[in-house]
């Protein structure tokens, strides 16, 4: 596929993909690498990294293995990022598609609704939602989805609006296809590349949001996440800076990887933007 070739010419994107694949592999293998889970208190607290072969990244305030925490935290970050993005797409895509495709009152209504959600500062709304629903993996994911769907709806709407005027869509109308069918099989598949690009960036944003919530103490207390690790280590940042430094780097790398991939996809989907015109 030429898409892959175009993607592969972007060095950053390939690096991003490699990093992401590593993170995914680590997340998937977490139960194998650290079967005891991340919470086990295995050694004395505040063990400095690289001083003990069994605990390469040292231990935290309760003597838990930092490496185990990072590995298990990868699961949470990826899961929250992915699921919340899928949820946001499930809200945003149909809403934006209907608004863009039918226009008129449907559009007006859907856009007012979207605007409404964009008017509420989204991080504040996420905080309130999590506080109300009480922090669990589910409520955090839901809250992130709820605050991140509006841009999806807007993007899809804009795409659909431009696509629905394209001649092949008109041809489909003339062929007597139903509106639903046109929307689903003619319009949306052609809107998919910007949606994928946006989704890859949304996963990154969701990971950041989750970590911010955890940092503020609004994480699921039964699940080890990177944000939690930073939040928990923050109180000892003076005596053990590495405890907050390392999960921070983990987030940074993952988010960076997703961004690089997003850019790579964008370039791959829109080759004309990069090439000079002849």
């Amino acid at each position: 596929m030429t898409l892959w070739k175009r993607f592969a010419t972007n060095r950053g994107a390939v690096i991003g993909l490699i990093i992401l694949l590593c993170v995914i592999a680590i997340a998937l293998l977490a139960p194998v690498i650290y079967p005891g889970g991340p919470w086990k208190m295995v050694q004395r607290p505040f063990l400095v990294p690289f001083t003990n072969g069994d605990l390469p990244l040292g231990t935290d305030t309760l003597g838990r293995d930092v490496a185990a925490g990072l590995v298990h935290g990868a699961r949470v970050s990826l899961l929250v990022g992915l699921v919340s993005t899928v949820m946001a797409l499930l809200i945003g895509v149909p809403l934006g598609a209907l608004a863009g495709f039918y226009g008129g009152y449907v559009d007006e209504g859907a856009m007012r609704f979207t605007e409404f959600f964009q008017t509420i500062p989204n991080f504040a709304l996420a905080i309130v939602l999590v506080a109300i629903l009480e922090p669990t993996l589910g409520s955090i994911t839901l809250a992130i989805a709820i605050v991140s769907w509006p841009p999806v709806a807007r993007l899809v709407r804009a795409e659909v609006m431009s696509l629905k005027r394209r001649e092949f869509v008109e041809a489909a109308h003339l062929a007597g296809l139903s509106n639903t069918r046109i929307l689903v099989s003619e319009v949306l598949p052609n809107a998919i590349s910007p949606i994928i690009v946006m989704a890859s960036l949304m996963v990154a944003t969701a990971i950041l949001l989750e970590s911010s919530l955890s940092f503020l103490g609004l994480g699921d207390p039964n699940i080890m996440s990177w944000g939690y690790m930073i939040g928990a280590a923050r109180t000892v940042i003076r005596s053990a800076w590495w405890l907050s430094f390392m999960p921070g780097v983990a987030i940074l790398l993952t988010v960076l990887a997703l961004n690089l991939i997003g850019e790579g996809l964008n370039d791959a989907f829109n080759p004309h933007l990069k090439k000079g015109r002849t």
């Binding site: 394209r166 001649e167 092949f168 869509v169 008109e170 041809a171 489909a172 109308h173 003339l174 062929a175 007597g176 296809l177 139903s178 069918r181 003619e186 598949p189 052609n190 090439k275 000079g276 015109r277 002849t278």
Partner: protein
């Protein structure tokens, strides 16, 4: 050649690695003489624009001059340092472009954009620049100059913008004006005005003009000399009249032959049964209605009545904004008319509700203008051709069989079925578009500018195909075009539209040779090379 002002010697332009060919232009040599208009003619990809850009030092990134010289005023403009090129651009060589809509900075006033030319070359004071800009605006014939220089580009029409562009290019009275397809995007009447303007300015300022075009009509209109380019090479060069009358190279001949000549075809036998009857159709567009502002109305289709007989091809011509496209789209009900009837096989398409409409859609099909936008890039051709019939109730097997047959008929071959649109060229795609329309077994086909986006030679092939199909299947077609010569070639009757109204309808011969309306005469007169075409017709007749 003492009067050569610009002398190009074996110019080769390299394309970046990975492009479809190594050189955009290969070993091209020609002279541009003082005060002459040299037309460079070629189809897309022939390298004509690249040559111009190379002279200006405006080649796109990655494209470089491989070898060759372009001597101007004793210096090779290709190897000048950037600062000197910059000083030369605008001052000694001016340039105008094809798209007046995008060639002006949308955020800057016209006057400022003209005055900027002086600023770029550190000439004149602020108020003098303004005065000169005003004078230039007057000179290129823009109305209400005081207002125009304060206007933004979006407030001007296409022709006005092209005039503004010319004003800019002329500001410093350059010795050479390079015009890159400056009239292609314009209506015929506007095109004629711009061509006249360029001729007049050449007369007045005595500059040399390198005029790039794909249209031999334009060549006939203004050229002193012609260069014909193909695949980056010059295939023929000579005095305009000679090349037009006795082309030496077969490509030039092919190009000339491909031009719809205005030769009027014989009238097809017309049955009385109408394929389409439009009665008193109206469509008004309202924009900007809000609680705080009154709506603006545009009567796109104004009480239009038209009948197309079975087996007849009717051409609908008019300039942009005349409402011809809206009319066509109203017939297929992509636009819902405000009032009036559209009877196709006795069914009023304008009155159907959504459900009924879906069932009756197959009666009228459309061939679209843009071959790149009219096919779903994610569907294989087979699916594109069979989705419609299947929605109509045709079995999958039959629909597929018919699709393969149609691909043969439009000359692509059945193996095209499993491929995706991006694997085809523009002309091939247009064939697929036609096949798609035919797949629905329509009673009427609307061809909306179906060949406008194609190169002349391809255009000819597609028109040929349409003519064939018509003969074989007895198609009824409403052929919408802005190009009167194309219309003359394929149509039985012509309907001329202006400001939403049908101003004249009649057999091609009558409309062309004895137009009743002033507007029709105006349109005909504006066709570039009209006189030459007629001559040619008389010669062959």
């Amino acid at each position: 050649m003492t009067d050569a002002i610009l002398s190009i010697d074996s110019l080769t332009i390299d394309l970046p690695i990975g492009a479809d060919r190594p050189h955009a232009v290969e070993d091209v040599s020609f002279d541009l003489n003082k005060g002459e208009i040299l037309c460079v003619v070629g189809e897309s990809g022939s390298g004509k624009s690249m040559t111009a850009n190379a002279l200006m030092g405006l080649l796109p990134d990655g494209v470089t001059v491989g070898k060759g010289r372009a001597m101007f005023d004793g210096k090779d403009v290709l190897t000048l340092p950037e600062a000197q090129k910059q000083a030369m651009r605008g001052a000694r060589i001016g340039m105008i472009f094809q798209e007046p809509m995008t060639a002006l900075n949308p955020l800057m006033r016209i006057g400022d954009q003209i005055a900027e030319v002086f600023a770029a070359h550190n000439l004149l004071s602020g108020s003098e620049r303004r005065a000169r800009a005003l004078a230039l605006v007057k000179e290129v014939g823009l109305p209400d100059p005081e207002k125009i220089i304060r206007a933004y580009p979006f407030q001007l029409s296409g022709g006005q913008r092209q005039r503004a562009m010319i004003a800019m290019a002329l500001a410093l009275e350059p010795e050479i004006l390079i015009a890159d397809e400056p009239t292609t995007a314009l209506d015929v009447t506007t095109q004629a005005q711009i061509l006249r303007l360029i001729l007049a300015l050449r007369e007045k300022h005595g500059m040399a003009v390198m005029f790039i075009t794909h249209d031999f009509g334009v060549v006939a209109e203004i050229a002193d000399r012609v260069i014909v380019m193909r695949y980056g090479q010059i295939v023929e060069a000579g005095i305009a009249k000679q090349v037009l009358e006795s082309p030496q190279h077969e490509y030039t001949r092919a190009l000339l032959d491909a031009i719809p000549t205005g030769t009027v075809p014989e009238l097809a036998p017309i049955t009385t049964a109408p394929a389409l009857e439009i009665r008193h159709l109206n469509k008004i567009y309202r924009t900007g209605g809000s609680p705080f502002r009154a709506a603006r109305e545009v009567r796109a289709v104004n009480d239009v009545s038209l009948t197309i007989a079975k087996g007849e091809v009717v051409g609908l011509v008019g300039e942009s904004g005349s409402g011809k496209s809206t009319l066509g789209r109203a017939v297929v009900r992509l636009v819902t008319p405000d009032s009036g009837q559209v009877l196709v096989g006795g069914v009023d398409m304008a009155a159907l509700d959504e459900n009924e409409l879906r069932k009756q859609r197959h009666r009228v099909q459309m061939v679209f203008q843009d071959p790149y936008a009219s096919l779903n890039p994610r569907h294989r051709i087979l699916r594109t051709l069979s989705d419609g019939p299947m929605a109509k109730g045709v079995s999958k097997q039959q629909a597929h069989k018919r699709a393969l047959d149609l691909l043969e008929i439009v000359g692509l071959g059945a193996d095209a079925a499993t491929r995706f649109p991006h694997e085809f060229s523009g002309g091939q795609r247009q064939r697929i578009g036609i096949a798609r329309a035919l797949a629905m077994d329509p009673e009427l086909i609307i061809a909306d500018e179906a060949v406008s986006a194609l190169d002349v030679s391809i255009q000819a092939q597609v028109l040929e195909l349409l003519a064939d199909l018509r003969r074989q299947m007895g198609l009824s077609i409403l052929f919408i075009t802005h190009d009167l010569r194309v219309a003359a070639q394929v149509c039985d009757r012509i309907a001329v539209m202006q400001y939403g109204r049908l101003v004249e309808v009649g057999p091609v011969r009558d409309v062309f040779h004895a137009p009743k309306q002033a507007y029709t005469r105006e349109l005909l007169a504006a066709v570039p090379g009209a006189g030459w075409a007629m001559e040619k017709e008389d010669a062959t007749a």
